[in-house]
Amino acid sequence: MEIIKPFSQYLAAMLLAPLLPGIINRVKAFFGGRRGQPALQLYFDLYKLFRKTPVYSRTATWVFRAGPVTGVCALVTALLVLPFAGRPSFLAFEGDFIFLLYLLGLARFATVLAALDTGSAFEGMGASREVQFAVFAEPAFFLGLAALARVGGQTSLSGMFAALTPETWRVAAPVLALLTAAFFIVLLAENSRVPADDPNTHLELTMIHEVMVLDHSGPDLAYILYGAALKLWLFAALIASMVLPRRTGSWAGDSALFLLAVLGVAVAVGVVESVLARLRLTKVPYLLITAFAFSALALIFQVGR
Amino acid sequence: MIRPLLLLPLAAGFLAFIVRSDRARRLLLVWTARVHFLLTALTVLSYLKGPGGVPFAAWLTPLYPRPSEAVWFSFDALGLFFLGITSLLFLGASHYAAYYLAAEKSDPGEDADGLFVFNNAPEAVFTGCLLLFLAAMTAVTSSRHMGLLWAAVEATTLLSAPLIYFHRHKRSLEATWKYLLICSVGIALALMGNLFLGAAGLKAGGGLDFAAMLAAAPGLDKPLLKAAFLFLFVGYGTKMGLSPFHTWLPDAHSEAPALVSALLSGALLNCAFLGVLRVNAVCVSAGLADFTGGVLVLFGLFSVVTAAMFMLGQRDYKRMLAYSSIEHMGILALGTGLGGTGLFAALLGALSHSLTKAGLFFTSGNVLAAERTKRISEVRGLWRRAPRTAVLWLGGFFLITGLPPSGVFLSKFLILREAVAGGHYWLAAGFLFFLAVLFTGMARVFIAMTFGDRGQKEGEKPYAEPAGMLLPAALFFALVLGLGLYVPAWLDSLLWAAAGR
């Protein structure tokens, strides 16, 4: 029976991830006074896209075709090391947070390469922006995880979150609060959410992520959309495990609470998108540097404690 | 109620804002200065004669060793010495001011270079701030608590800023802003130093009262005390005009009215010096004499060097005097750092420098009034235009550069002797070299200004020199000259007591 639990956790993450963009859209619609798409819209989209035949440009090579698959595979693998509701994942080993970071990097690399492979200046521009912001976002995320590793004295993600208890919040509240803020900003930036990017826009001057995937169609686009949903889930799960370290004792109870927290993060993202305007492109690095500063501060606090 | 010395200028200052008649206000200024000086003299007398020596004096102004009640203001020899300088200078400045303000009133405000016309600040504000400035300086000399000393020094900055901005034009405003900001930030560092000082005494229980700190000095935490000294030194050193924190000083001194420059240079810098002396005394008692001495000698010598560098090629005679002040502050720090007789010499130097520099600034005001320019290159043959001013100008030059006999010479000589006696030959040689540079630099300016070829200027009449604007300077110069010939026994004992022996 015990062997089933990590497996079902993993399956739940894979299945529930596409729900998050739907929730965000509903929240935005609520704030905008509209009814909005159904929460399950992304499932419908994925189903539709998988049945289509992809169209490839004559100039595109295998790199272009490999991009989406590599991306989604990297993220599916990344989810393997992600703990669920403070319970260890399948694949927990020492230093796996670095593994996670590299998988995220690999996904980004594949997307960027695919975008460049189209040979379109437009997509090249998007790739350039994506990498430019990643330069700021990755150190922030990495330092944040390092600080978290110091808090629990563990170097595996499962260990870190298992060591996190309400007691930790009482002792190291400043560190955890800073980390939560930093991770939230990184979440917004990495998932092309509003202050950094606008997922709805198709205006060439402002797009970052959307512009890179314009040429993908059919199942390829489905992979990309699904990968994006997984990535959102990944960050939301990290934040949720951090702000809600409470244990009820039962696996089901913990899981339910955790899922609620993840949905809460999605709602928070929706609220942020509704009340904030998108930042000017040149200001986005400032936002990410702020996240970096938060993470760095948290690390300094934790090291000197 | 027991501190008329403090309350008198304070009350007079507030009164000056209200009084409407110019004449009455000037009288108020002069008479406040006179009474203040009288009270100061009484206090000094009662200090010298011991308790009960002078009737009522103890009641008027309490002296330092007092019963253990919480006393904020009282005098010891050091404070009294600086109070004496301040009060004497203010006496001269107030008399000068009476004529100066009258002259300014009748004169349209024209820029010294004739470029633009400006207004003066309201005389009431000027006089009021002047009197409050005196009150703040009295508070500096009489406070016996480091925190209070800090507050009083900061108050002097704030109250003297409006004085610098008396002539309302761009340059004086620039000088005022620099003065306000640099000194306030510098003083903020001194506040940090006070905190370190308090922390150093947490275990020994010294508090921030001088007497208590001196008594508890050996038990103070040494590293914290060092930090405290450095912060206080940088803080008060900024106010004192030690290089490299001196940048505000030439600007403020050159743009302020002559009598304000005199007070800034002669009285205010001393107040900051007093702050340095106070913390230095505590550090020396705690056995840190080598450390503080090293810092003081280093920055002292650096100030002398800086002054010498900027003296050469100086184009503005008031700025030149300002750099001379930096030089003398450097010498004071040097003497204090050497300790022993050096400290005595530094105190004597403080007195001589204050009187001489104040006299020179008064005279520079006359030169400015006669020639309407602050540029050295445009003042030539002063003795033909204003002979009595020229005599004072040249006399002041001889005194300030330390030609014997003068108090300045005596103090420089004693410091040099102390340096040689201590085996610091290189220090002595360097000191002497830069003094020579300063002398030549200043001689070039003063001699050219006094005797240079004036050329023919059509219809020029000799400038009518008001005696009231010459007398204070003449009096001060005479005193300094006298000091060089003879230091009275009472002053000698006061100086030694102030030097802590």
Binding site: P174, A293, F301 | W150, K170, R171, S184, A199, Q314, R375
Partner: protein, 222 residues
């Protein structure tokens, strides 16, 4: 309880960083005010509710009124009257500012651990105060406006105040009040000076206040 005080300290540091990146002048004025209020409340909140008589109450109230209400009012008025541009016009970029700030905090942590200071029961209070003082200097040196220099002075003052809390140096009430009065008069006088500068020069850019100098070859005015 100390966790709460630590959170406040974190807020103070975050306010430093916010000051380093805030471009709007009025935003900076408000941030400095908030920092002053937070610092003023620190002894009340960190003390665990144990009141030390009237002194413990009067003083924070005075600080909060002064730093939270009077100073922002004075400075905002000075800003409006001077007709200055609305941004702080930094000499270095905002990312550079925040990195400097962060570097200062790291350096202060190192320094704080090296200084032989008495043990404090609130973690990070010494580095936070030192970093705050540094931020004040940053504002003074890398922002051109006269108002931001006053703000820098106030931030330094906040930092020193927090430092004093960290060291447990209890100055007598009279001295504390005298210091507060000085700071008030300083801001007041600087406010007046800013008004005069804006009237005389048509701007409050201190980089342009450079007529008096011994380094320039030209004679002034010509």
């Amino acid at each position: 309880m100390n966790t709460f005080a630590e959170l406040i300290i974190v807020v103070v540091i975050l306010l430093d960083m916010a000051l380093a990146v805030t471009g709007s002048l009025s935003g900076c004025i408000r941030l400095v005010a908030v920092q002053g209020v937070v610092a003023g409340l620190l002894p009340l909140l960190a003390g665990g509710g144990a009141a030390h008589g009237v002194r413990a109450l009067i003083f924070p109230v005075a600080i909060v009124t002064l730093k939270g209400v009077v100073f922002p009012w004075l400075l905002l008025r000075a800003r409006d009257r001077s007709g200055a541009r609305k941004d702080v016009e930094p000499l270095i970029s905002y990312p550079a500012s925040i990195l400097l700030c962060l570097g200062a905090f790291i350096a202060s942590s190192w320094l704080g651990s090296r200084l032989p200071l008495p043990e404090t029961n609130v973690a990070w209070i010494v580095p936070a105060s030192l970093a705050t003082i540094f931020t004040g200097f940053l504002l003074i040196t890398t922002r051109t406006k006269a108002i931001t220099q006053v703000l820098g002075y106030l931030v330094i003052e906040n930092g020193i105040y927090i430092f004093g809390l960290a060291l447990f140096v209890e100055q007598p009430m009279l001295v504390e009040l005298a210091i507060l009065l000085d700071v008030f008069v300083a801001v007041f006088v600087m406010g007046i000076a800013i008004f005069h500068i804006s009237r005389e020069f048509d701007h409050i850019d201190t980089a342009e206040l450079s007529e008096l100098s011994d380094w320039r070859s030209g004679e002034y005015g010509k």
